[in-house]
Symmetry: C2
Subunit: 210 residues, 2 copies
C-alpha cells in the first residue's frame, strides 16, 4: 500500500485522521491534570507528551488549536503555571479515554470519569491518585507552530513521584509499572520488555553482516 501526498489529501477526514495519527508508531498514554482560577479541576488524555531534555528536565506536549479539553488544559496552565502528567494503566483506559469528551468547563473530569485528586503541598495542580507515575510540571513556555496552529507546551519537572520498586539499574521498567501506550485515536497497548542494549560508543559497535 502506497499513499502519495495527494492520496492522503483526498482521503475523507476521519480516515485521514485515523491513518495519520497512527503512522508515528506507539505514543505515550498520559492524563494531564490542571486547575483553573475558580479551583475547578480538569483532566484530559494526551498522547503527545515528548521528552525534550534532562538538564534542565523538560517535557512538552502538543495542544490542538480547537477549543475543547485541550483548550481548557492550556488555559488553566497559563492561569496557574503548573500541570501534572500521570501515566495511564490498563485498569482505567476506558475512564481515561472518556476524559476526551467535551464536557462543560464547570465539570471536572476527575469526578465525572472516576478519578481521585491528589495534591502536594505548595503545588496547585491535581495529580491522579490512581496513576503509578506522577509528574508535577512547572510551565515554562508555549511555542506556537504556525504550520497548523498547534502549540508546543513546555514544562520543567518540579515533582516526580513513582514506586520505590520502579527503578531497575536506574531505568524505569514500564512493563512492571503496567504503563501503556496509545495508537491512533483510540487503541490502547500493553508493553512487554524485549531488549536492553548498552550505551553506544563508536569503537564498540558489533559487526552486522547481512
Amino acid at each position: 500500500m502506497h499513499y502519495s501526498h495527494k492520496d492522503i489529501a483526498n482521503l475523507d477526514r476521519i480516515t485521514r485522521l485515523k491513518l495519520v495519527n497512527s503512522v508515528s508508531g506507539i505514543k505515550p498514554a498520559n492524563l494531564i491534570g490542571t486547575i483553573d482560577s475558580k479551583q475547578t479541576t480538569n483532566l484530559a488524555v494526551f498522547s503527545s507528551v515528548v521528552h525534550l531534555g534532562s538538564n534542565p528536565s523538560l517535557l512538552g506536549f502538543v495542544s490542538r488549536p480547537q477549543t475543547g479539553e485541550s483548550g481548557h488544559t492550556l488555559e488553566n496552565i497559563k492561569q496557574n503555571g503548573v500541570f501534572t502528567i500521570n501515566h495511564i494503566h490498563p485498569e482505567f483506559t476506558k475512564q481515561a479515554h472518556y476524559t476526551s469528551a467535551k464536557f462543560d468547563r464547570s465539570v471536572s473530569e476527575f469526578a465525572r470519569c472516576g478519578f481521585s485528586e491528589e495534591y502536594i503541598e505548595g503545588f496547585a495542580a491535581p495529580f491522579v491518585k490512581e496513576s503509578r507515575v506522577k509528574v508535577g510540571m512547572q510551565f515554562k513556555e508555549a511555542i506556537p507552530i504556525p504550520l497548523n496552529g498547534t502549540i508546543l507546551v513546555i514544562g520543567e519537572i518540579a515533582h516526580l513521584i513513582l514506586p520505590d520498586t520502579a527503578l531497575e539499574k536506574g531505568d524505569i521498567n514500564l512493563e512492571d509499572l503496567n504503563s501503556i501506550g496509545i495508537s491512533g485515536l483510540n487503541s490502547y497497548y500493553e508493553l512487554k520488555k524485549i531488549a536492553q542494549h548498552p550505551y553506544v560508543r563508536a569503537n564498540e559497535v558489533p559487526e552486522f553482516n547481512g
Copy 2:
C-alpha cells in the same frame, strides 16, 4: 519515591538522563533516514517522533543540540529537504540501537549496521527496506526551543508505505505490524493491543461511579 526539582538537579548526570528520559512513558521507535549532498546516506534511531496534525499531515521530531548523529540528520535534511521515518521491529532492535554511535560522516549507518536502502522515484531520502511502515517526509520547518537549544524538526508526509493488511477498520494495528516502543535510552518493548474505545461524544459518556 518523591524527587523534588532540587533532588533531580542533584542527581549525577547519567542517573538523571536515564530517569528523565523514562518518565514521559513509552516512546515510538523509529529510524530516520537522510542523505547528504555527496550522496552519503545516514540512519539514526529517534524516540521523539510526535504527531502534530492530520490536515496537513505533519510529524515532528526533536533534534538535540550536540553534534553527532542527530546533527548529521538535521544537516542532511536542510541540504535535501527530505527525510524518511521507518518503524523499528523486534528482529533488528540491536542494529537500530547501534545507529546511535558517533560514526564518521563518511560512514553510512545503513551499511555499517546492516540495513538496506530503498528508494522511491523522485524522492531523494533513503527508506529502510526492512521496516514494515515507511514514511517519506518533506521538510517544512525547524523550530528552535531556546530553553535548552533543541530543535523541533517538522515535516509533511509525502509518501506513506505500509502492508495492505495493516489497516483494521481504518486503524493501524501496531501489534500485528510488530512495531515496538522505547523507554529511556535503551530499553525496547513489544506491544499488545488491549482495548479500543469509540470516538467520544459528551452525551455518550458512561457513568463511572467509584
